[in-house]
């Protein structure tokens, strides 16, 4: 399943659909980093609003994506984690430590705008 990646200025927005397979996640990980390189993006927002479960593989992949993208000098923000999913994640010890998070796309963009303003 292809994950749509949209470009909004210097930010790439990847919207996860529900039920991504491990193969999809692997594919996405490489794809996103390639896009960051191609467009010289400053940040990536990964929108997981549609995910109603998050397992350890998905969680680890998100962290890896963030780390890889940081190596390209760009920021990653995960947005749209649902309350029930957040609760389940922390119970399993999947805290996405070191990765920025925001409530939704709007908040994610606001966070990035603020960050760019501070660092520019």
């Amino acid at each position: 399943m292809e994950v749509p990646i949209l470009k909004q200025g210097a930010v790439l927005i990847a919207t996860f659909q529900a039920a991504l397979s491990d193969a999809d996640l692997n594919h996405l990980r490489m794809g996103l980093v390639q896009q960051v390189v191609k467009f010289r993006s400053r940040a990536v927002i990964v929108d997981v609003t549609a995910m109603d479960v998050m397992d350890s593989f998905a969680s680890r992949t998100l962290r890896e994506i963030a780390h890889m993208i940081r190596l390209r000098g760009a920021e990653t923000v995960i947005v749209g984690i649902q309350p029930e999913v957040a609760f389940a994640m922390v119970q399993l010890g999947l805290t996405l430590e070191g990765v920025a998070t925001a409530l939704d796309l709007e908040e994610g963009l606001a966070y990035l705008t603020q960050k760019f303003k501070n660092t520019d």
């Binding site: 995960i78 947005v79 984690i81 649902q82 309350p83 029930e84 957040a86 609760f87 994640m89 922390v90 119970q91 805290t95 996405l96 998070t101 925001a102 409530l103 908040e107 994610g108 966070y111």
Partner: protein, 303 residues
Amino acid sequence: MSKREGGSKDPGSRHPGVELVRSEAPSELLRELVAHLRQNRTQLREEWVVRITETRLLTAMTKEEIFAEATSVYDSYVEALETEAFEALQAYARNLSERIIPRGVETHEVVGIVLLLRDVLARSLFAKYQTDFKKLNRILDAYEPAANRIANTVAVGFVQERERVIRQQQEAIRELSTPVLQVRERLLILPIIGVIDPQRARQLTEQLLRGIRTNRAKVVVIDITGVAAMDLTVANNLVQTVEASRLLGATVIVTGLSPEIAQTLVTIGVDLGKMNTVGDLQGGIEQAERLLGYKVEKLAEPR
């Protein structure tokens, strides 16, 4: 072989020791008894109300109310006997319970009045069929199982309704006792008071996470001044709440840790780096306002 006598004798005597079954179907008997109960409705209902008052049941209701309920229970009772439609009776029983439970009517009163009605009707059947003992037995064979089912249905319906009300009240109490309050744009306060057991802790977390999403909160102040003690499970739950809130983009400030709880958290080895703590609620709110970019300035003295 006994000689055949005139045809006017009871056919049963032709074969001594064998009870000949009459041709009346149970449904016919039921119809007959229902007709009797309907015909004598006013009198039997009155008798029942008298018995209710004598036995001092339904003391929470006035005479008029008892009479009104008695009328509808009587009619539903007779209808249930007639149609054997117990779903209707179940629904009626739950409906009745919904009305009278808030008035403080107890289970034993409801069961009591239904049994009294059963007795009043049974006595009236004894009176009517006292000359024909065999018929009385057959009538009772039809009446008793139906009457018992009715008593059972009403009692169970009443108890189920009470249980439903209790569950509802428990849920309401639980929700009220952990209010999530918005005190500024993007700022929520969760004051926790009393004992937190794992179930309440879990409910708290769920309520907070929902609140963060609904109010789009960026900072949450969890105040535990009112919490006397905390065990390992609850302490871990608090940490999880902080972590889960972060996943929704909100920062949590915990305030009001008592010396005892501070001791507990240190002893347990909770990673305090994960927790943003401030001494008291006032400090917590001030810190939250700073995080949100507010500056509070005093413009004049209080009047």
